[in-house]
């Protein structure tokens, strides 16, 4: 078995720190020394690489409390060459020592099976990822995360999984200081992770909210090597060249491959693992990637230009629409009536509901049914939801939207008509809706903030205001994260 379990405990009568592996006791001694002896935070997770051997340790360490400097630690150890990315999916099994659970973890990790019990996504994951990315840009390579409560411990596995440090070199913890703080460090990829760290973090976290951890991991991996900066590429290239020169391959073709590879690395080239550069491996990977950095750069530029053009077009259209509505409201009413003949719009400028009173917003359990009834009674069953929503958005943009009464209708329209919308349109609509939400604090079950809107809306709202981001999730699935300042929607 590649991974084996360990358990270290303190027992003065048996000679002090005792455990299965004596060398491991010595290795962990430095970490057990600084832990708090009482309280909620007496320890935390650790993923370290041993100096004295080629093993790594994944587990948990906590103070024993009886005596300063004594500790209890448990987890699994295995060779550093093994992939340990599945450890996060066994999170609950690491938190408390149970021998059988640990054996199951060791077995699962050996077989590279996923445990599927990930830690909860912390509220501040996006902001922490952003902070770390910004810190990386400032030149920091060790990222310290303060832990104020036991919940904060769950940040670390996510940071390990999704952060800028290559997971093959990253370490987590161990807790070394008091008040407890955990470090997340390792060799950061030699390329800048992303020119827009906030967006990067939001996009990754979006996947987690959609319960697509694998996609999030893939996104994180791909983004670690995205947007190569030529100024930072140079030293990386030179180091790879030095490695290739030191490797002295036997045949000329392999040498040429290394030099060519160093001069034109792929987007995901692991610069951090320079010692393992092998000519065959490089060729294979680049063939699979379909090109080098130049191609990647061209693609990136093209994508940016396309996005810019699209944004410009949308802005112009929006501006035109606003001017049109303001200048000729009667024309707009006529046009809408003509294009959507089946809609019985009595007051198209205001979109008032029918005489039946709107359902109470505090009764969340009946919202789905009442919304449908409400929508149908107001606009009929043949209403063109897309047009309705578009009109709503235009009025939102013109800041003439009514208060909460039509918000549910709008969301209904969005749900019904979202298949007809282009992604850009959908983003714009959601962006406007969330702006409205933040401004007016209306409650809804159709857009959930942190998944629990309606129960903790005040708290969630406050958090959104602090982080300036809103995680937006529709009933059908994740839609993304939204910046409340620029209304940019991250995600798919």
């Amino acid at each position: 078995m590649a991974f084996r379990t360990f358990h270290i405990d303190y027992d003065a009568s048996r000679g002090g720190q005792v455990g299965d592996d004596d060398s491991l006791i010595g290795a962990l001694d430095a970490y057990g020394a600084g832990l708090e002896r009482s309280g909620e935070l007496t320890g935390g997770p650790l993923l370290i690489r041993l100096r004295s051997s080629d093993d790594l340790v994944v587990g948990w360490i906590r103070s024993k409390g009886e005596r300063e400097g004594t500790y209890e630690a448990w987890g699994v150890t295995g060779p550093q060459t093994e992939d340990v990315s599945t450890w996060v999916s066994y999170w609950p099994m690491f938190k408390e020592y149970r021998c059988d659970d640990l054996k199951a973890v060791a077995s699962g990790m050996t077989q590279r099976k996923t445990g599927n019990i990930y830690p909860a996504v912390p509220d501040n994951l996006a902001s922490e990822l952003t902070r770390i990315a910004a810190a990386y840009d400032r030149g920091e390579r060790t990222f310290v995360t303060a832990v104020n409560s036991a919940v904060d411990l769950e940040l670390l596995p996510w940071l390990w999984l999704l952060g800028p440090v290559e997971s093959c070199t990253a370490t987590v913890g161990p807790p070394r200081q008091s008040p407890l703080s955990l470090t997340y460090q390792g060799q950061v990829g030699a390329v800048p992770i992303c020119p827009e760290p906030e967006r990067w973090a939001l996009e990754i976290v979006n996947y987690l909210h959609a319960d697509e951890v694998e996609s999030g991991m893939k996104q994180a991996r791909s983004l670690r090597g995205k947007k190569l900066n030529p100024s930072q590429l140079a030293p990386a290239l030179s180091s790879v060249k030095q490695e290739s020169a030191a490797a002295k391959p036997a045949d000329g073709k392999a040498a040429a491959a290394i030099v060519a590879a160093a001069a034109n690395p792929g987007p995901d080239h692991p610069f951090t693992d320079e010692t393992n550069v092998k000519p065959g491996w490089i060729k294979k990977v680049w063939r699979r990637r379909g090109g080098g950095i130049e191609k990647q750069r061209r693609l990136s530029l093209r994508t940016e230009l396309r996005g810019l053009r699209l944004r410009l077009n949308v802005a112009l259209m929006l501006l035109g629409a606003i001017l049109l509505i303001n200048a000729y409201p009667h024309l707009w009413q006529t046009a809408l009536s003509n294009q959507v003949p089946n809609v019985r719009v009595t007051q198209p400028q205001v979109l008032q509901p029918s005489s039946s009173p709107p359902p109470s917003r505090s009764d969340n359990s009946n919202i789905a049914e009442t919304d449908t009834a409400y929508c149908a009674s107001s606009f009929g069953s043949l209403v063109d939801q897309r047009r309705l929503a578009e009109a709503f958005v235009k009025r939102l943009a013109a800041r003439s939207a009514p208060a909460t009464q039509n918000f549910t209708d709008f969301l209904k329209a969005l749900r019904e008509g979202q298949r007809l919308w282009t992604p850009a349109e959908r983003r714009r609509v959601i962006g406007a809706a969330v702006q409205l939400y933040l401004n007016q604090e209306c409650l809804t079950s159709s857009i959930r903030i942190d998944g629990v809107l309606g129960e903790t809306s005040k708290t969630a709202l406050e958090r959104c205001r602090q982080t300036k981001t809103v995680p937006v999730t529709s009933e059908e699935g994740a839609l993304g994260w939204l910046c409340t300042e620029c209304a940019h929607l991250g995600g798919r």
Binding site: G15, A33, G34, R37, R51, S53
Partner: protein
């Protein structure tokens, strides 16, 4: 110089530093209660901080091979000082580091020292015992040592003599498993070429009779080491945690039977509870007058006789002590396992006598304190026979206590030079040590460094 925080979080400490402390994976963090010290404590940095072209500066020096910080006592030799290597072994939580720091650091309260406040005994230590400072070590008393071994350098001035002490403190767990490595480190330390004398202190912790002995006998480790030590190396036992011992009625009964002439005075003394912070003199003074070397001599003889050893001690007119018949009553080799004579103090009686031993130490310190003059003068004039009596009593009681535990009883019995140092604290764990300077004096005397 760098802060402890920088030292701990240094991204690339020399790998050799860790190699010699294998399998340490990182520089240890300070205990949680001392986090603030990480910013205020400063340590000599790694080699990169040193000036180019100089292997050592005048104050701090690192080993060329392993980059460990060496106290000046390890590398500076002025030719006029006596050189003394000291190694301390013992299992976890027996008080090795605690008593080392007590020995080498003048305590704030010298009331309970044997002669420490005298100018004739001054100990000053190098500030650092990497990765800690001596101050940190003192503050960390009671905490588990997280480093496999530490090096301490101390210079002691005794009378007109200067003794340079190089001390090796081995972590308890290191002796359990990594025997070969720990033995190698200890042997290398005690057999360095330029050393003149060496001593090995074995630290053993007192446990009441109610506590089932679960620790592995330290004698095994000692025997493993003994064969490798240099010939003149001297050994002694530091018997710690004596303040834990409780006075018992059984001990009072035993004194009444075996030391009837002095039983009342001894019982009265043993009944006093030393509590730090109170003025001890008014309560203790009436008892102190009746306690002298003669009482101790009677007590030692009683313990020796009842424990199966014909081990009389007596004193001539000049105060010099004589010892007779240090042999077991039977000439047969000692049988394996516990072997205690029927009348010997055991169980609660032994616990009570050990508590009495600790109070006898305090009594001496207080008597010396009441003496008009230097403590050293008192020691030489009147205190010497008393201290010898304490030493003998400690030795007898330790043999009785350690025999069922399979510890060093037989070794102590066989070797007359094998000292037992009784150690306890007044005021509990964070209190004041009693007679910590006696260990220093006896160790230096036993190893032949001082007269």
């Amino acid at each position: 110089m760098v802060t402890y925080d920088a030292f701990m979080n240094a991204s690339k400490p020399p790998p050799e530093w860790f190699d010699v402390r294998k399998p340490l994976n990182d520089v240890p963090a300070l205990p949680a209660a001392m986090t603030a010290r990480t910013q205020t404590t400063r340590l000599p940095g790694w080699d990169k901080d040193r000036k180019k072209g100089s292997d050592r500066d005048t104050v701090h020096c690192r080993c060329k091979q392993c980059h460990s910080l060496l106290p000046p006592q390890f590398w500076r030799n002025d030719g006029s000082s006596s050189d003394f290597a000291l190694a301390v072994i013992g299992y976890a939580e027996v008080g090795k580091t605690t008593w080392l720091t007590h020995m080498f650091t003048p305590p704030s309260d010298t009331r309970f020292e044997m002669i420490r406040d005298s100018e004739n005994l001054v100990a000053f230590s190098y500030d650092y015992a990497e990765p800690y400072t001596i101050e940190l070590l003192s503050l960390m008393r009671g905490a588990r040592t997280s480093i496999p071994w530490t090096l301490l350098g101390t210079t002691v001035k005794r009378d007109r003599q200067r003794v340079v002490i190089r001390t090796l403190d081995i972590r308890g767990e290191h002796l359990l498993s990594a025997d070969a490595e720990a033995r190698a480190v200890i042997t290398r330390h005690l057999t360095m070429k330029h050393r003149r004398s060496a001593a090995l202190l074995v630290v053993d912790r007192f446990e009441p009779h109610t506590q089932t002995p679960t620790r592995l006998p330290i004698s095994q480790v000692y025997h493993n080491l003994q064969g490798r030590l240099p010939d003149p190396a001297w050994s002694g036992v530091v018997w710690t945690y004596l303040d834990v011992a409780q006075w018992t009625q059984e001990a009072a009964d035993w004194l009444g039977i075996h030391v009837p002439a002095h039983a009342l005075r001894l019982i009265e003394l043993a009944g006093l509870d030393p509590v730090l912070g109170q003025d001890l003199y008014p309560r203790w003074q009436p008892v102190l007058d009746g306690i002298d070397a003669t009482v101790l001599m009677a007590l030692v003889n009683a313990v020796s006789l009842t424990s199966g050893y014909r081990d009389f001690v007596t004193q001539d007119d000049s105060g010099k002590w004589y010892r007779f018949g240090r042999k077991p009553q039977t000439q047969q080799p000692a049988p394996a396992g516990p072997r205690v004579a029927p009348g010997a103090p055991t169980g609660p009686t032994l616990d009570g006598l050990i508590a009495l031993l600790f109070r006898l130490q305090i009594a001496y310190s207080l008597k010396a304190g009441l003496f008009q003059g230097d403590k050293d003068v008192y020691f030489l004039k009147e205190g010497f026979p008393y201290c010898n009596g304490i030493s003998d009593l400690a030795r007898e009681l330790y043999c009785l206590w350690s025999r069922p535990r399979g510890a060093l009883a037989d070794m102590v019995r066989r070797n007359a030079g094998f000292k037992v140092f009784p150690c306890g604290m007044v005021g509990g764990k964070d209190g004041v040590s009693v007679w910590s300077d006696a260990i220093l004096l006896e160790a230096m005397g036993g190893a032949g460094v001082t007269s």
